[in-house]
C-alpha cells in the first residue's frame, strides 16, 4: 500500500456565532493557511474533497459556493461527501492510494449557529417512525449516558471529571471555544448536565495529504496514515447496545490500532459519556493521552469536528509530541458510525 501522510492542518477559532461571515468567508482563511504551510497553490493540488451538510446551512447545494473559495480555476479534480470532513479525508486517502494523485486538500465547515442544531439533527432519524417525534441529539445522548450508568460503567461524578479534564486541556488550545473552569451546570437532559454537552459553534478546518517523498518534501515530520477504516451500525437505537461501540472497535482493528500501543488519542466524543464508550471500545488506559486539544467538548463545529480530531492528532505528530496516535470521528445518533485513523511519525534523525 502506498504511504500517505498528513502534512498540514489549519482550523478557525471556533465561536458561538459568526453572523457576519458567510461559510465561504469563514473557510477561506483556513484554506490559505493550510496552503501557505506547505507552499502549495490550488493548481498544485491533485485532488480536493470536502465535507459539509446542507441541513446545517439551511439550503440545497450549499457546498457549491464553498468551492468558489477554493478557487477551482483552472478546473480541479474534486468531490464532496455530505458527511463530517473525516470521511472526505478518507475519500482523498483512497484517491491517493490509487496513484491518481500525489497531493490532496481536504476541508470541512459548519455553522451550527444558523439554526437550532438539536432540532436540525433530528432530521437524521428514520423519517417515517422517529423523526416526526423530534427526539433531539442531547436527549438521545442522555439515553446512552443513563444506559452506561445503569451498567455500572460510569457515574455522574466521573462524567464531570472527564468534562473538566477536557476543558482544562483546552486552555492550551487557542482555537477552542470553551476552556478552563466550566461550571457543571444544571441537568440539560438527565443525567447530562451543561458541562457534559458540547458547545454550539461555527468553524472550519482543512488538511493537506501527500504521498511518499512528496510528503517528506512538504513537511519535516509528516504524520503517516498507517491505517484508516470506518464502520456503521444499525440506525435504530432499540437494536443497539448503547454502552458499547462495536463499529469503533472493528474500525480500529482494521486500521491496525491494536497492533502497537498509541500514545495519543483524539476522540470525537461530543458528550462526556461517549468518551467512556470509546475508551472501552479502543482499550485506552490511563497512560494514553486522550484529547489533549480539549476534544469536542471544547469546540464542536458540526461536520468539521471529526476532521479536526485527525488534524489535531497529526499536528501533534508533526510537532514531535506524539509518535503514534489514534484519531476517531463519529456520525449519527449515539455513535452510530465511526472512523478510526492510525497516524505515526518517523523516528527523529
Amino acid at each position: 500500500m502506498r504511504d500517505v501522510a498528513i502534512v498540514a492542518f489549519a482550523q478557525t477559532d471556533h465561536r458561538r456565532r459568526s453572523d457576519e461571515l458567510s461559510e465561504v468567508e469563514m473557510l477561506m482563511p483556513v484554506l490559505h493557511q493550510v496552503l501557505t504551510r506547505t507552499g502549495l497553490q490550488t493548481a498544485d493540488i491533485g485532488f480536493t474533497c470536502s465535507g459539509s451538510s446542507d441541513y446545517l446551512a439551511g439550503r440545497a447545494f450549499s457546498f457549491t459556493m464553498a468551492l468558489d473559495g477554493v478557487g477551482a480555476w483552472p478546473p480541479i479534480s474534486e468531490s464532496h461527501v455530505e458527511m463530517d470532513g473525516a470521511w472526505a479525508l478518507y475519500e482523498a486517502w483512497v484517491k491517493l492510494l490509487t496513484g491518481e494523485a500525489d497531493t490532496a486538500l481536504v476541508y470541512a465547515y459548519g455553522k451550527s449557529s444558523s439554526g437550532e442544531v438539536r432540532d436540525v439533527l433530528t432530521r437524521q432519524l428514520d423519517p417515517y417512525y422517529v423523526a416526526p417525534l423530534w427526539p433531539d441529539s442531547v436527549s438521545l445522548a442522555a439515553l446512552q449516558a443513563q444506559a452506561l450508568i445503569d451498567a455500572g460503567a460510569t457515574d455522574e461524578p466521573a462524567l464531570a471529571e472527564a468534562a473538566a479534564r477536557s476543558r482544562a486541556d483546552a486552555t492550551a488550545n487557542p482555537h477552542a471555544q470553551l476552556k478552563g473552569e466550566v461550571p457543571r451546570g444544571d441537568h440539560v437532559v438527565h443525567p447530562l448536565r451543561t458541562a457534559d454537552c458540547p458547545p454550539i459553534g461555527d468553524g472550519a478546518a482543512a488538511v493537506i495529504l501527500a504521498a511518499g517523498d512528496r510528503a517528506r518534501d512538504l513537511c519535516d515530520r509528516p504524520a503517516w496514515i498507517r491505517g484508516m477504516d470506518h464502520r456503521i451500525e444499525p440506525h435504530s437505537l432499540g437494536v443497539r447496545d448503547l454502552t458499547d461501540s462495536p463499529s469503533t472497535r472493528l474500525a480500529a482493528e482494521r486500521a491496525g490500532a491494536f497492533e502497537r500501543r498509541v500514545d495519543t488519542a483524539e476522540l470525537h466524543a461530543p458528550f462526556s459519556s461517549q468518551e467512556v464508550v470509546l475508551r472501552r471500545a479502543l482499550n485506552l488506559d490511563e497512560t494514553v493521552r486522550v484529547n489533549p486539544s480539549g476534544g469536542a467538548l471544547a469546540a464542536n463545529p458540526v461536520m468539521a469536528t471529526g476532521l479536526i480530531r485527525i488534524g489535531e492528532a497529526a499536528a501533534r505528530i508533526c510537532r514531535g509530541e506524539s509518535d503514534r496516535a489514534l484519531a476517531h470521528a463519529t456520525s449519527g445518533p449515539c455513535l452510530q458510525q465511526n472512523l478510526v485513523a492510525v497516524l505515526e511519525g518517523e523516528a527523529h534523525a
Binding site: M1, R2, T48, S53, D54, Y55, G58, R59, A60, F61, F63, T64, M65, L67, D68, G71, A72, W73, P74, P75, I76, S77, E78, S79, H80, V81, E82, M83, W87, Y90, E91, V94, K95, L97, T98, G99, E100, V120, L121, R123, Q124, L125, D126, P127, Y128, D229, H230, R231, I232, E233, P234, H235, S236, P246, S247, S331, G332, P333, Q336, Q337
Partner: protein, 388 residues
C-alpha cells in the same frame, strides 16, 4: 504502482415513476440493490462496503440518509460513504466506489444512488432564499435557458434541433422497461406543439421528476472471474469541477467538462472519440444539451454538434447513438440520474440493454454533470478488460 482493474458485474434499477407510494425510501433503494446483487449472483455478505449518493437532502427532507439506510442496504458492520456532488452525484458516487476497488482497499463494493422526489418538492428544495446570492430563477430551466440561447447564437443552429433530440429520446424510452416516460403516441409535431416553458425550452424538451434508484456491484479482477455474466470493465473515470459563477466561465462549453473528457480518454487510450466510442449515455436534462455536450465531449468540432444530431447520427441506429435508454429526458430521479447513465453505458458493453441495445457496442461513455454546469463526472467502460 498499478491500480486494480475494476469490473461492473451487477446492475439493478427500479421502474422509474412519478411517485412510488407503495414503498418507503428504504424499500426503494433495497429494490435496486437487490436487483444488482441478483444480477451478480451475490448475497449481501459478499459486499465489503457501500457507497451511496443522492442530490440534496432537502429533496426528501432527510438529513444524511446513509444513517437511516444502513440497515436496508446491508451495510451494518461495513464501511458506508455518502457522496454529494449536485446533479453529477450518481456518476461521482460510482467513481468513489470504483476507487475503493482500484486502490485494493476493498474487493467488492455496492454503489447506489436514488431520489424519491415525490417525498417533497424539488423546485421548492432548490429555491430556499439566501441573501446576496443569485436565486435559481424558477427552477433549473430558468438557469439553463439563456445558455442554450447563447449556444444557438454562437453556432447558428436552427431552432428545430432541440425537438429532434426530445423526439428521439422519448422514442428510445419506449424500448426501455425501466424508463419513467413511455409516451406511446409521441410525434415530432407533438413535441414542437408543446407549451413554451423557458424560451427556447418547451415542455416536451424537459426532464420529468421521478422516483427511482440505481445500483451497481463493482469488483476486482478475481471477482470478475467469478461473475456469471459478462462484466463491463472501467477503462477510465474522472471528475472535474470549476466555480459556479465567474467572469471567464463558458457556460456553453465549460472547461471542466472538456478537461474531464480528456482525462477519461487519456486513461482509456481513446484518441478519436467519434470513431472509437460505440454508445454514449449523456446527461441531457434539456434537449439542447445533446448538441452542446457533443461538442464539449469532443465528438464534434465546436459549433458542429447540432449537425450530428440533425443528420441522425445520434439515433439508436445511427453510428454514434446517444441515450439509447431514453436518457434524463425520459427518466430523472435527480440523484440517481448520473448513475443511470453510468449503468446504462455498462449495460451496453455487456450486451444486456435489451430492446435498446446498440448492436456490437464494445466501448461506451457514461456522463453526468451538476450545479450550474460546474461539476462533471464520466467513465468509459468496455467489453474487454483493460490492457495491463
Amino acid at each position: 504502482m498499478r491500480k486494480e482493474p475494476v469490473a461492473v458485474i451487477g446492475i439493478g434499477q427500479t421502474k422509474h415513476v412519478a411517485a412510488r407510494r407503495d414503498v418507503s425510501i428504504a424499500g426503494l433503494v433495497r429494490e435496486a440493490a437487490r436487483r444488482a446483487l441478483d444480477d451478480a449472483e451475490l448475497s449481501w455478505a459478499d459486499i465489503d462496503a457501500v457507497v451511496i449518493g443522492k442530490a440534496p437532502d432537502f429533496f426528501e427532507g432527510l438529513m444524511m440518509p446513509e444513517l437511516y439506510l444502513a440497515d436496508a442496504l446491508g451495510a451494518v458492520g461495513k464501511p458506508m460513504l455518502r457522496v454529494h456532488t449536485a446533479g453529477s452525484v450518481g456518476g461521482s458516487t460510482a467513481l468513489v466506489a470504483a476507487n475503493l476497488v482500484a486502490s485494493r482497499v476493498h474487493g467488492t463494493v455496492l454503489t447506489l444512488a436514488f431520489e424519491k422526489q415525490s417525498e417533497s418538492n424539488a423546485m421548492w428544495g432548490l429555491s430556499l432564499p439566501i441573501p446576496f446570492q443569485q436565486p435559481l430563477l424558477a427552477g433549473a430551466g430558468g438557469f439553463f435557458a439563456p445558455h442554450i440561447r447563447a449556444y444557438m447564437r454562437r453556432t447558428g443552429a436552427p431552432d428545430t434541433v432541440g425537438s429532434l433530440v426530445a423526439y428521439k429520446d422519448r422514442r428510445n424510452a419506449l424500448k426501455n422497461p425501466y424508463a419513467h416516460l413511455h409516451e406511446h403516441g409521441i410525434t415530432l409535431e407533438k413535441v414542437q406543439a408543446s407549451p413554451m416553458l423557458w424560451d427556447p425550452i418547451r415542455y416536451s424538451e424537459t426532464c420529468p421528476s421521478s422516483d427511482g434508484a440505481c445500483a451497481m456491484v463493482l469488483t476486482d479482477r478475481a471477482g470478475a472471474a467469478r461473475s456469471p455474466h459478462p462484466p463491463a470493465w472501467v477503462h477510465g473515470g474522472a471528475m472535474r469541477s470549476e466555480p459556479t459563477l465567474f467572469a471567464g466561465k463558458d457556460f456553453v462549453s465549460p472547461q471542466a467538462g472538456k478537461d474531464c473528457a480528456a482525462d477519461v480518454y487519456r486513461q482509456a487510450g481513446i484518441t478519436d472519440p467519434r470513431r472509437e466510442i460505440d454508445a454514449v449515455e449523456m446527461y441531457v436534462p434539456f434537449s439542447w444539451y445533446e448538441p452542446m455536450w457533443l461538442e464539449n465531449l469532443g465528438f464534434s468540432a465546436e459549433g458542429e454538434g447540432w449537425k450530428l444530431t440533425e443528420s441522425g447520427v445520434t439515433e439508436l441506429d445511427g453510428d454514434l447513438p446517444v441515450n439509447p435508454s431514453g436518457g434524463v429526458l425520459s427518466t430523472n430521479p435527480i440523484g440517481a440520474s448520473g448513475m443511470i447513465r453510468f449503468a446504462e453505458a455498462a449495460l451496453q458493453v455487456r450486451g444486456q440493454a435489451g430492446e435498446h441495445q446498440v448492436e456490437g457496442a464494445r466501448r461506451a461513455l457514461g456522463h453526468a454533470y451538476g450545479g450550474g454546469s460546474q461539476f462533471f463526472s464520466m467513465w468509459l467502460v468496455g467489453a474487454e478488460s483493460p490492457a495491463i
